[in-house]
Amino acid sequence: MLELNCRRFFETYSDYRDGGLGIAAQTAVHAHMASCEACRRYDRVIRTGVSVLRAEEAPARRRNVRLIPLRNRAWATERRESMALGSAGSGIATLGMALVAVVLGSFAWLPLVGAGTSAAATPEFEMAPVVAAAPESPVPARPAVGLRPTRSTDDVIWPPLLVHGSSWFTGPNTQGLAAEVDPD
């Protein structure tokens, strides 16, 4: 049978306590403890100490004691994060807008800035005056399409899509579009 001395006992004690020893080694530990008061006491001290610790553990609480403050905290964290993201997002958006404004502004100022340097190179054309003949008859009035100004809500003319239903628009005969002009 395997025999242990005290030093070997201390080295294997953790494995023994955690159930990591084979049967032969376990028997050897038991045999050693049976014959050695110091090692037996060591085992007793560890077991007693741990059992005192375990007895002291916090009792279980009712579910809501933990859940309610936890939920509040989770909400608060989410809100804080989203606000931080929002402010970061708005900062980026503001910066982007400012950048676009600068670019557009610089484009707008480009002709004036360039006027001093390239004015001589710009060719100038003289256009012949355009002479228009006077119309022979007055311009005919165009028919109104869709909404037209009305005085009361009874006179509202609905757009064709609503008057004739959606099938009108999605139907195969989209030529009808031209025919849905206000009959007036």
């Binding site: 953790s14 060591y42 007793r44 001290v45 007693t48 005192v52 610790l53 933990r66 936890l70």
Partner: protein
């Protein structure tokens, strides 16, 4: 016969025919939560609240602060649960988060050392609480001895170095395997074993004078 009685089946399932949350494995509860069942998170909180409370308290030695850290742990779990690798154990993951928070707390505390009012009060209670408030059926010397032993055992845990303490608490109080401890503390199996061995030796040496 392998049939389940209808009554038992009823108790095991909800009205929608789904298995009750309390009877599921952790990872299945996580999956239910990810599927949109909000109550599943409550179940996780209920399962781990007490365990984490003891673990964090033993690690940092302050119950009030441990409360805060556990809340923070659950908030982190809630927010990052979609990142949890479901091939791993949920308990290891949640213990890792709590352990890291506890480690940070100890690090911060070592940078800004202060005497905690709670620890002063704890000692005050132990030293000056009148004996007549105790259970009259028990002998005062027994009570005194038990209280003294409890105090010494607590002290012994707090006297262990942080590395040894975490390993000791996870193994002795939470029954974690060496592999789980290695994952939670992010060290090798050999390190876990040697730390545990040293922690036990030191713990025994401190409390030995109090135990016959």
């Amino acid at each position: 016969m392998g049939h389940t009685s209808p009554i038992l089946a009823d108790r095991r399932t909800t009205s929608q025919g789904r298995t009750r949350l309390a009877e599921l494995e952790d990872n299945q509860v996580v999956q239910r939560f990810l599927d949109g069942e909000q109550r599943a998170f409550n179940e996780l909180v209920y399962r781990y609240d007490k365990r984490l409370q003891n673990f964090v308290y033993r690690t940092i030695g302050d119950r009030e602060r441990a409360e805060d850290l556990i809340q923070e742990t659950f908030v982190r779990v809630y927010r990052h649960i979609h990142r949890f690798d479901q091939t791993r154990k949920f308990s290891t993951w949640i213990y890792t988060i709590a352990g890291n928070l506890a480690k940070n707390e100890l690090r911060n505390r070592s940078r800004n050392p202060l005497v905690l009012f709670q620890s002063l009060m704890k000692n005050w209670e132990a030293d000056f609480r009148p004996l007549e408030w105790e259970d009259p059926k028990t002998r005062p010397d027994d009570l005194y001895r038990k209280r003294f032993l409890r105090q010494k055992v607590d002290e012994a845990v707090s006297l262990l170095s942080e590395h040894h303490r975490v390993v000791f608490v996870l193994r002795e109080l939470h029954g974690k395997t060496y592999e789980e401890i290695a994952e939670i503390t992010d060290c090798t199996l050999g390190t876990v074993k040697s730390r545990l061995n040293r922690a036990r030796n030191r713990f025994a040496r401190i409390i030995a004078p109090m135990i016959k």
